[in-house]
Symmetry: C2
Subunit: 467 residues, 2 copies
């Protein structure tokens, strides 16, 4: 406790009293992210530990000072953005400093000629998008968390948005970054369109989940708001038919921003007003120059018809657009003994049938299973993702956590067995860490070497990412 006092007073001396907080509310707020297991534990009156204090820097220099201090004193540091992570990336130990970036939320510069925006890492996605929209631009990056997640969080977790099939994921959108290394060094990369100047420094930090440094600024590629948008939905007699239509479309070179296909269970759950029972619903959204959207939608209609998809018109897509970011709070489920979560994975097209069947079967083997369903929301030439939802009823609240881990283990093992990757866009955090060695094979040694090289004292977000 004496250490905590000293840490707090040192940081106040270093950064000013208004940049350091340790009131119970601040500590509790920064004690976890939106990981369902952390929420479950809170419901069961087993809340997470609270950190020693929360630093709220207003500039990169303050982040640098904080990290230099932490390095010198071997204090664990946990970067905090919007707290929207769902894999347990934030669970600061009692002796940790949380660095909350939310006060660094300014849009610094828009280059309208090169279509680049430079923004501080703590800006919320929705704040940035609003600023861009007012000038006729968009980021084209729409994770479901956009109202809650920060630009820095997107980078640190390798975020993907709902329109990624055309506009790419954060690694395609991030043109440059500023990152503070554990010893306080500030590294800035240049926003060039492409370079062959050694390994790409952006990629070291994309997906590093706070374990290699703190992202303080990002330069993102933006786009003019598209002049036209067309919506269409199609119902297929089976999920496999819809997947085949998507594969044909993307492999022929079409890239509608949204190609979102629900299995029969999710179609019945969310779209029964439009789709017949036992069908799989595909949502298509195309946008861009009218000549492009027209040709693209004609190609979609033909590809869907070839797989016996029947056209349902735009209404299901409009419904989805309106409700796409509604996420019900999890507490009521946990209070009723229902263990729920989502798990997103991905694989090459040739492995997708086995991946779907394997994960669904694994989840359905869990006693008390109520729901095991999936949709595909991000497609590529070589494969697609599957986003599973599970719910399990338990009579015994003491078993909830065990059941939670049981579901995750079933999904992870089945994914690896099918040749898939254990995460498409939520990241690793703590929940997926036990499978990282299997995911990467001997490559895990390269990740460990990188960690040891950049954070030799291991102060950055300990307990996350690497097993």
């Amino acid at each position: 406790m004496a250490d905590r006092e000293k840490l707090r007073s040192d940081l106040v001396a270093l950064l000013g009293a208004d940049s350091v907080a340790w009131d119970p509310e601040s500590l509790a707020k920064h004690s976890r992210d939106s990981w369902p297991l952390a929420i479950l534990r809170a419901v069961h009156r087993r809340p997470a530990e609270t950190p020693a204090c929360v630093v709220q820097p207003r500039d990169t220099e303050s982040v640098s000072r904080t990290l230099r201090y932490a390095s010198e004193h071997q204090v664990p540091v946990v970067p905090y953005g919007g707290g929207s992570g769902v894999c347990g990336g934030i669970l600061p130990p009692e002796d940790a400093v949380v660095v909350d970036l939310r006060k660094m939320n300014r849009v610094l510069e828009i280059d309208e000629r090169a279509l680049l925006v430079r923004v501080q890492a703590g800006a919320l996605g929705a704040e940035l998008e609003k600023t861009l929209n007012e000038k006729g631009f968009s980021c084209g990056h729409f994770p479901q968390s956009i109202d809650l997640s920060t630009v820095g969080g997107w980078v640190a977790t390798r975020s993907a948005g709902q329109f990624s099939t055309r506009y790419g994921s954060i690694e395609d959108i991030l043109a440059a970054l500023e990152v503070v290394l554990p010893a306080g060094t500030v590294v800035r990369t240049k926003p060039v369109p492409r370079a062959a100047t050694g390994p790409d420094l952006r990629e070291i930090f994309l997906g590093s989940e706070g374990t290699l440094g703190i992202v303080t600024e990002a330069t993102l590629r933006i786009l003019p708001k598209p002049p036209s948008r067309v919506l269409a939905a199609f119902a297929f007699p089976a999920l496999a038919r819809g997947l085949e239509a998507i594969r044909q479309l993307v492999q022929a070179g079409w890239r509608p921003p949204v190609l979102r296909l629900y299995d029969e269970l999710e179609t019945a759950r969310h779209f029964s007003d439009w789709a017949a029972p036992e069908t799989a619903l595909l949502l298509v959204l195309s946008e861009g120059p009218p000549a492009l959207t027209e040709a693209e939608m004609a190609a979609c209609s033909a590809a869907c018809a070839a797989e016996r998809g029947s056209a349902l018109g735009p209404a299901p897509v409009e419904h989805w657009l309106e409700h796409r970011n509604d996420v019900p709070p999890l507490e009521p489920f946990f209070e009723r003994g229902i263990v729920v979560d989502t798990i997103e994975v991905a694989a090459p097209w040739s492995a997708i049938p086995a991946l779907y069947e394997g994960v669904a079967a694994g989840l359905r083997a869990v006693p008390g299973i109520l729901v095991a369903s999936a949709h595909s929301s991000h497609s590529y030439v070589t494969g697609t993702n599957l986003y599973f939802t599970f719910a399990v009823q338990t009579e015994n609240p003491d078993r909830a956590e065990e059941i939670y881990h049981q579901c995750w283990a079933a999904a992870m093992e089945a994914t690896l067995a099918a040749g898939g990757t254990i995460s498409h866009h939520h990241g690793i955090g703590r929940i997926r860490r036990p499978w990282m060695a299997q995911e990467h094979g001997l490559g895990i040694g390269v990740l460990r070497a990188l960690k040891a090289a950049l954070d030799p004292q291991g102060i950055m977000n300990p307990g996350v990412l690497l097993p």
Copy 2:
């Protein structure tokens, strides 16, 4: 010399006599790549040192054994693909082992459903493309060196092809790789379409130029051969007009594989049969589904007309397609006292006018300059590349090397001053190494830490990439 003998006999014992060569022809062939300065030195009777021996492994296990041996005995190792590099990436010291990958050139597997090809690193681009074409596929990656360069070389140097504006560069095409680390460990990544499982291991080795390990296998994204192709050329009253047309097209969402714009000098040099003097010629090639190419070419015509580009029909593009990989041998130039090379750089659109003017002015200030011209061949939403050609006449052969360095320094300094990147796709090698610290700022420390972590003894391709 005793060391050389021991090294050779040890490697023969380890790999077999038919995998190790040290005849003068083999040593001379592997003593350099296609770096113009190395060619200039050879013309001036100052050939490069020759390595101790050349290993020609037939499998990954042999590469692993070689590297394990080299690590244990601190022997420098230089990986060798097709020898097509133009930046001095290959210049083995006398005590080095060159690992020539050309005998590892098999196409191992084609996944026609996921559109993936798994190929050994020593396959030449043209060999791979021919195999794919026979099955109705293409890699979509066409560097000018395709007849001379290997798949492993593409990865190690961050290659970009002539059709990259639509199909991407090697970092977009590489789905997975196998790489042998300096101590002999074989790391394999999985060919998944996208993952959020920590920093992307592919990106550690893309552009590493043999300094972190040896790439032994690659899985690449392939494409069905496109059903239609349309060609068109346009002549603009000024380079700036043509650049503006390209910028408008890509920022509106169009991606013709080829958008290739020559400045007035290069237009006069290569296309005087079609384009009027003092015009800048744009070559456009669109391919894909007919509905897409039709809409794309209509958009191109409109964007070019808006910038006063006049349509010249397909002939200039056909001419380029036929001759695009013809590169004249450099020896005759050097023998006549003409110092020549090309320098490719890139920048955001907002910096391109200053970059073009700055580099051209810097080159034209070199006494004896004959040619300083450029074209743009790879465009992106946020910017484009500029590919300069220079030629300088000198009466004194002893000054040729100094003049060569003077031209490079002028181009590099002007590029950095304009906010550009010092290499778009040729890489760093030895010629650009002096500017790497300026290119990356404090980020150079991250690259150095990566090198120290993965190659602590510094045996991998010493003298390249990092200053």
